[in-house]
């Protein structure tokens, strides 16, 4: 990983000029929590980020919030995260131009107080918000942050499904309800 980070940062392999999508997959821990941010900030064409069964270190949203990178990222997928909810919420709220957000999985531990600041830089609603699973207060955090979307895809068992619909009531054009059997 370190060597790859170095290669990317030096631009010696040309990666930084054309990589548009990055997936972090099956990463249970980071030896250096700054490493993922160090990779991403050298990818100037990056528009899509997927975190699958991996940890999101607290440093990653902090780096984005400081403006080190992330302005071009419009698509964020988080599948079965291996971390508490706090860095997930911070990650979502830190991306200023997010358009598509897809979250799936379960988180039991909130990891402390969740960020509640409004999505300050997001002038427009999301194009698409998908939420599936139980994230221990994620929906409520998104509602409190005034995040809205034009298209919503929600699992009915989510405790915040109604609040999310209500928050986006003025903007939602397409609504998909996944009616799970065990409510």
């Amino acid at each position: 990983m370190d060597r790859w980070c170095t290669n990317v940062s030096q631009g010696s392999d040309g990666l930084s000029s054309y990589v548009r999508h990055v997936t972090f997959e099956h990463i249970a821990s980071w030896n250096d929590p700054v490493a993922p941010g160090r990779v991403l900030k050298n990818l100037g064409s990056l528009t899509s980020l997927r975190v699958s069964e991996s940890v999101i270190p607290n440093e990653l949203p902090a780096q984005i919030s400081r403006g080190e990178f992330g302005k071009e990222i419009t698509i964020l997928h988080i599948f079965w995260p291996r971390c508490t909810l706090a860095p997930i919420v911070s990650m979502i709220l830190s991306l200023p131009n997010l358009k598509t957000l897809c979250i799936m999985g379960y988180v039991i531990d909130s990891g402390g107080p969740l960020p509640t600041h409004p999505v300050a830089l997001q002038k427009e609603p999301l194009d698409f918000l998908t939420m599936c699973g139980d994230m221990c207060g994620l929906g409520e955090a998104l509602v409190r942050s005034r995040l809205t979307s034009r298209r919503l895809s929600l699992e009915v068992c989510s405790p915040s499904v109604k609040q999310l619909i209500m928050r986006s009531s003025e903007t939602v054009v397409e609504l998909r309800l996944d009616g799970v059997w065990f409510s």
Partner: protein, 110 residues
């Protein structure tokens, strides 16, 4: 503000959460997709649908059966029918309302 239909009686086997549901108007909603795991909606889904007020801009409702689980048809569709009738007949879905049934097995009637 519209509430639940009076006749909505849930099967005692199921738990209904957060009654009643009151959702605000959805003034620009054009498409509603309902994914079912079984051949009938869960009480909670029915609850949420019944909480959606008439939506004049709604032009398409798709009801998709995922067939992940099998269950006996138990007639809960009468509540959905009532909701559809209310949505479609409340002055007006402008330009008509289409309802699509997707991925339903042959011979299955709703």
């Amino acid at each position: 503000m519209l509430g639940l239909p009076d006749a909505l009686v849930d099967d005692p086997l199921y738990e209904v959460i957060d009654l009643p549901v009151h959702l605000p108007s959805l003034p620009v909603l054009t498409t509603l997709t309902i994914d079912l795991c079984v051949y009938e909606p869960s009480p909670r889904l029915t609850n949420i649908l019944c909480g959606i007020p008439p939506t004049p801009t709604l032009t398409c409702i798709a009801v998709r059966c995922n067939e992940r689980f099998l269950a006996e048809y138990q007639g809960r569709w009468v509540d959905i029918d009532r909701w559809l009738a209310r949505v479609a007949g409340h002055g007006g879905s402008q330009g008509g309302l289409s309802v699509m049934l997707i991925n339903w097995p042959e011979g299955m009637s709703v």
